[in-house]
Structures are given as C-alpha cells and as structure tokens.
Amino acid sequence: MKVKYFAWVRERVGKAEETVEPPADVRTIDDLIAWLSRRGEDYAYAFEKPKVIRAAIDQAHVKSDAVIAGAREIAFFPPMTGG
C-alpha cells in the first residue's frame, strides 16, 4: 500500500510517500504507526507522539483504531491548520 506523509511528519520521515508491505498482523492505523516507528530513527522521531498524529485512509479521516485492510493509500499528518 502507498503511505503519504505531510507537513512535519513528512519532514521528519524524510520523504513524501513510499510503498510499504506490512505483515498481516499489522491490522490498524495504531499497528501501522508502531510498525513504521521500528523502521528507523527518522520514523521513530516522526511518530514519537502517536496521539498527535492524524491519519486518513483513501483520503478520508479515520481514527487510530481503523482497520487498514484493503486500503490503497494511507496518509499521516499533524493536526490541520488550514483556513
């Protein structure tokens, strides 16, 4: 699945998007954050406070317990500051 990062999450991870293949036991957004955090220091830094991270599955906001099965595109970003 494709994973996208925005704003300071993007800056900390060091890339805007990538394709990942998490193992089957990575079921939810929370699981995916934990799994990504173990990929390296940059990821660990980006996700150091998982509670402030917002997520979207296929361009719709989801909560952190949302199931990721079937998702084509998952995005992580800080709280929005538009308007």
Partner: protein, 155 residues
Amino acid sequence: MTIAATIRIQQGDFDVAQEIARLSKGRTDIGAVVSFSGICRGTEDSEPIAALTLEHYPGMAEAEIKRHADEAIARWPLQGLTIIHRFGRIAPGENIVLVVTASSHRQAAFEAAEFLMDYLKTNAPFWKQEESARGKSWIEARSHDDDAAARWKKS
C-alpha cells in the same frame, strides 16, 4: 432545488468581487450574500513573519471540502456557494481562503459561511508553515478552533 458548490484549490490569487458577482449577478431570488476572506497577517503570536507556506493533500483536500460543502447545502437553504483555498507561498496581506454564501435568508448565509470556515480551519488537510527571522516552523493547531468547529456538531 439543489445547488452545486464551486470549489477550487489553487496556487494563484482569487478576486473576491468577481466571486461575489458570479453568485448574485442577474438573479432576483437572492436576498443575502456573505463573503469571508481569510488574509495572511504579518505577525503570528506577535512575531513578525515574512510569509506563510501552505501545504495540502491534493485529492483529499477537494474531497473533504466537497463533503462539508454538501453538508452546508443540506443544512441551510443556500442558493449559491463558493469555496476557494490557496496553497504555496503566501505573503502578508495576500488572500488565503474565500467562502461566499448566497441565500434568501441572511441568517442562513451567515451560519453556512461560519460553519464552513470553522471546518476549513480544523478538518481540511492544509498545513501552514511560517517563515520568520528565526527560520521556518509549522504553525500549531489551536484548541479554540476545535471548539468553534464543535459547536456545529449535531447532538
């Protein structure tokens, strides 16, 4: 009568007057037009800034704004609705965002515009970075914006 909102996510500036005119010109069924323009200020938390840079999530930004526009059209008797949000680098004094609502009823026009601005501030996938003498930094979300958005939740 169901109307369709005009939604634009763009790098370039917009013309408030033209957008107001486009909704109301030549029509005699509109009694009230409300416009909200959000403008880049020269300070953030009393510190001077050189510019803002707005990052957005292409695709999701349009979809999110469309969902909220449709909700506004369902909740208030609107006869016209335009939402424009810019991205990229924006200097102090320049436009950032525009919401224009047209209705027969002034309260509907006011409420729908406020509802949409509150949601754009908290739920539309845009992020503001400021440039100042101290470098670049991401602007933090404000809890009073969340409070403003929460007042529209149906209980």
